[in-house]
């Protein structure tokens, strides 16, 4: 037996706002639409309805209700709520139809072995939607249209058994047939009203031919809907994998604490949506729209005078922890403050497959990625972003020929060494699916490493360790400038005005070793190096003495230790 479920969100614009501000659920809330000062009430919640507020009221009329909370309609938040609804449906079935911004129909064929009987699936759908911040009505029926009508007409969870469609739909008013397009069908509704037809059972009982003569095919179609006897195939909709959340603020934010509060809420919503799709994220994009206020040097985007401040948080591994993301964003904003009041927050996450890690008894300890990211962000706040990370040696003989890069230790069984499995918008989950083969190849490549780890962890020491011991050079950053006295072409005495310990008679000197490079560029360099032994107060110390042949300066580059 085919089965379809419909998820319907009553008062969708209101629910979209309540999803962002759930604390308003217990208050009288009205959504306004239009340009000030001609804004009219567009949607109200139950509390406001009881207080006498109804859609279409003007500013003067609604002022009678003093405790009414007013919010402007936000299309961006409605888009995010619609995407959330799709995520909720997609977490149960891949065959989903978007029947409207507030209505989603999904095919339940074959889901009973996975999720249990149909009533249980309907309850799970309502619970999942509630977890995502939306209060919904869910109905299950044998065809999509009946399920949609039942979801619009009945609140809560409704399951219509096969053959009982007409009986159960009969008690619903005829207005549910038109849904959001009630205004376009005002003429039909007026006709039904003149005929005395209030309920669907009245419409279903009309003779077919007489109805066709008077209303045409539209009337027959409505009657078929009222009887719950339609038969059509679902039009599957493949939503794009876009995870974005937006908050438009009533007043500009100037403090980090309220901003963090809002960011935390957005991150929780994003993580819940990603979790519903069994995904994680490796990149967070924060875009703050700045109001007029302090002077800032940020880029002015577009033709509008509003400035946007963008930060991108890239993670070495896919994560799905809103608290970690919030802390990272806080630390990032602390290091890079936007510099102006914030009027709109836009947060987006790039979906990727979650990290699959296999721990082992004999593997070396490694920091947890979430903790490591937070630690690195905190350390960057202490020493600076360019002072923490891992090294990469450059292919050059230039002194200090290295650069810092992001520290991301590879795990023995991690798929990180291979191309990222980023899911692009619109791409199906089958795209870029080398996961299994990736893991297998990683396991094969790490067998020697594992054997080494086991040997070392077991207490066995490398026998030829001392052969690898090298004479290390400690670099002075910046180099220490010295005055050198030459004798017979060799340095004989050095004096250092800044450091008395680094001056004295040169006992031995070996050199010079001449090197140069990058002469074809502006940053060319040429130098003579000497290794010298200097008798200091505490003993003999070995230094590397360098003469810059371009500038003629002498300096100590480092000491051998």
């Amino acid at each position: 037996m085919p089965a379809f479920a419909c998820i319907f969100v009553p008062d969708f614009p209101l629910e979209a706002l309540l999803r962002a501000e759930p604390e308003l659920r217990s208050q009288s809330l009205a959504v306004l639409e239009g340009k000030a000062p001609l804004q009219k009430v567009f949607a109200v919640n139950e509390n406001a309805r009881r207080a006498g507020v109804s859609p279409g009221m003007s500013k003067l009329q609604r002022e009678a209700c003093t405790s009414l909370v007013l919010r402007a309609r936000s299309l961006s938040q409605e888009a995010a709520a619609h995407a959330t609804l799709l995520d909720c449906a997609q977490s149960f079935s891949p065959r989903v139809e978007a029947a409207g911004c507030d209505t989603i129909v999904l095919d339940l064929a074959g889901l009973e072995p996975l999720f249990g009987p149909l009533p249980k699936i309907a309850r799970a759908l309502a619970r999942r939607a509630s977890d995502l911040g939306l209060e919904t009505s869910v109905a299950v029926a044998g065809n999509p249209d009946t399920a949609a009508l039942a979801a619009r007409g009945f609140s809560g969870v409704t399951v219509i058994p096969e053959g009982k469609e007409a009986e159960m739909l009969g008690s619903l008013p005829v207005e549910v047939l038109f849904g959001n397009s009630a205004q376009e069908s005002g003429q039909l509704l007026e006709t039904f009203s003149r005929w005395g037809i209030r309920k669907l059972r009245d419409l279903a009982a009309l003779p077919d031919i007489a109805l066709s003569e008077r209303l045409g095919q539209a009337g027959i179609h409505l009657q078929t809907l009222a009887r719950g006897a339609t038969s059509r195939t679902l039009v599957p909709f493949e939503p794009q994998l876009i995870f974005e959340e937006v908050i438009e603020l009533e007043y500009p934010l100037v403090l980090l604490e309220p901003l963090a509060f809002l960011l935390g809420r957005l991150l929780e919503q994003l993580c819940a949506r990603l979790e519903a799709r069994a995904l994680a994220t490796q990149e967070l994009r924060l875009c703050l729209e700045l109001g007029n206020g302090w002077q800032t040097e940020e880029i002015i985007t577009g033709t509008e005078a509003r400035r946007s401040f963008q930060r991108t948080l890239r993670l070495p591994v896919p994560l799905l922890d809103s608290r970690t993301f919030l802390k990272l964003l806080q630390l990032d904003l602390k290091a890079h403050p936007p510099g102006a009041p914030i009027v709109k927050i836009h947060l987006a996450a790039e979906p990727v497959r979650p990290r699959a890690a296999q721990n082992g008894l004999f593997l070396s300890p490694a920091p947890e990625p979430e903790k490591l990211e937070l630690t690195l962000a905190r350390i960057a706040g202490i020493v600076g972003e360019d002072k923490v990370g891992s090294l990469e040696l450059l292919d050059t003989h230039r002194p200090e020929g290295f650069r810092m890069q992001r520290f991301a230790p590879s795990e023995p069984f991690s798929p990180r060494r291979h191309p990222s499995t980023v899911l692009r918008a619109g791409s199906a989950t089958e795209k870029n699916n080398p996961h299994f083969s990736v893991q297998m190849s990683s396991m094969n490549s790490s067998v020697p490493e594992l054997a080494l780890s086991e040997r070392c962890l077991g207490g066995g020491f490398s026998t030829d360790s001392s052969d690898d011991l090298v004479t290390a050079l400690r670099i002075f950053r910046p180099p220490v400038g010295v005055v050198v006295t030459m004798e017979d072409g060799n340095p004989a005495y050095i004096s250092c005005p800044k450091n008395k310990e680094m001056q004295g008679e040169i006992l031995w000197a070996a050199g010079p070793w001449r090197s140069s490079g990058d002469w074809w560029e502006q940053e060319g360099w040429a130098r003579d190096e000497w290794d010298i032994a200097v008798q200091g107060e505490t003993g003999i110390a070995l230094y590397r003495l360098v003469r810059d042949r371009l500038g003629g300066r002498w300096f100590l580059e480092g000491s051998y230790d």
Binding site: L253, V254, L255, L256, E257, L259, Q330, P337, P338, S364, P365, A366, K371, T375, R378, I379, G381, I382, V383, V388, S390, L391, E392, G401, P409, L452, S453, C456, L457, G459, F461, S462, T463, D464, S465, S466, D467, D468, L469, V470, T471, A472, L473, R474, I475, R477, N490, L507, W508, A510, W513, D531, T538, G539, I540, A541, L542, S559, Y560, D561
Partner: protein, 296 residues
């Protein structure tokens, strides 16, 4: 309340233990009945601390001398400039990264030379390098005060202070140890002035010791003089042996050595000053080893 005396106070100022073991069960029962002493464990029932797991230091002679580097303990290597401390540091780092352990180097003097490390065999993919240095730090940071302004440069000069490298290094080390998961954490105090190094409060070392205790982390410190004092489970003093020999050999000014003679490695002598791993005095046990010139 029980009146069974545990310590005789007959002679004021000279308490004498009373022979109570005749009824140990009764004593333990009464001890547990007293609220203040309910959590007291008799010394006879204290568990012996397990011997820490030892890992290779990368230098065979040091492994022979000390048994390796103990996990979950603080190891300190001290010595003057050009005594071979950094060579030992690189050897330990190379050994740890070859064991696929994640390591961290808190470089307080920003003196690390990547080319020497590459020559020693350090795997940079597994090494986190934190370079400390003078930096203006906003005292009114949003992390400490969440209500700070989201405005660039809002902090006035009064709210800014210069954080010294040692302070940075201690804070960074604290974060790294609390984060956990590192096989080796190195604090390089090799070029830190003696006065500054000695001013590091003992409580910091105690905190570090407590943080690595019962973990697989080796906390390794190099310095000019012993800093961690009793917190160090292993204290090794190194000195450049070859420099002294050269001093005698080339006392005459005219006999200047070639490059190979001067830097064909350092003869390093290590002396074990303290080891709290085996409960016996370490004495003055020494080991000598040599380094090779491979530095760039």
């Amino acid at each position: 309340m029980s009146s069974l005396p545990l310590v005789s106070t007959a002679a004021p100022g000279h308490p004498v233990a009373v022979a109570v073991p005749a009824w140990p069960a009764l004593v333990f029962k009464r001890l547990s009945a007293m609220p203040k002493l309910a959590g007291v464990t008799p010394a006879s029932r204290l568990e012996v601390r397990p011997t820490p797991q030892m890992v290779s230091s990368g230098v065979r002679e040091i492994d022979t001398l000390t048994g390796g580097l103990p996990r979950g303990c603080l190891t300190e290597v001290c010595g003057p400039a050009s005594s071979g401390r950094t060579s030992i540091l690189l050897a330990a780092l190379a050994a740890a990264t070859q064991r696929q352990e994640v390591c961290a180097l808190v470089d307080i003097s920003d003196a690390f030379n990547p080319h020497s490390a590459a020559a020693a065999g350090v795997n940079f993919e597994k090494m986190l390098w934190v370079r400390c240095g003078m930096r203006l730090q906003k005292s009114g940071s949003p992390q400490r005060h969440p209500s700070a302004l989201l405005r660039a440069g809002s902090a006035t000069a009064k709210n800014e202070k210069i954080e010294k490298p040692v302070e940075q290094g201690l804070r960074v080390t604290d974060l790294l140890l609390q984060s956990g998961g590192f096989g080796l954490v190195i604090i390089d105090l090799g070029d830190t002035p003696l006065k500054t190094a000695r001013r590091i409060p003992l409580t910091s070392w105690f905190r570090f010791q407590r943080a690595v205790e019962h973990t697989a982390t080796v906390l390794f410190v190099i310095s000019q003089v012993p800093c961690a004092q009793t917190c160090a489970s292993l204290l090794l003093k190194v000195s450049g042996k070859k420099l002294s020999a050269l001093s005698c050999q080339f006392s005459a000014k005219d006999s200047s050595p070639t490059h190979a003679q001067l830097l064909d490695g350092l003869q390093v002598q290590g002396e074990l000053l303290r080891s709290r791993l085996d409960r016996k005095p370490a004495g003055s046990v020494t080991a000598a080893f040599a380094t090779k010139v491979r530095a760039g």
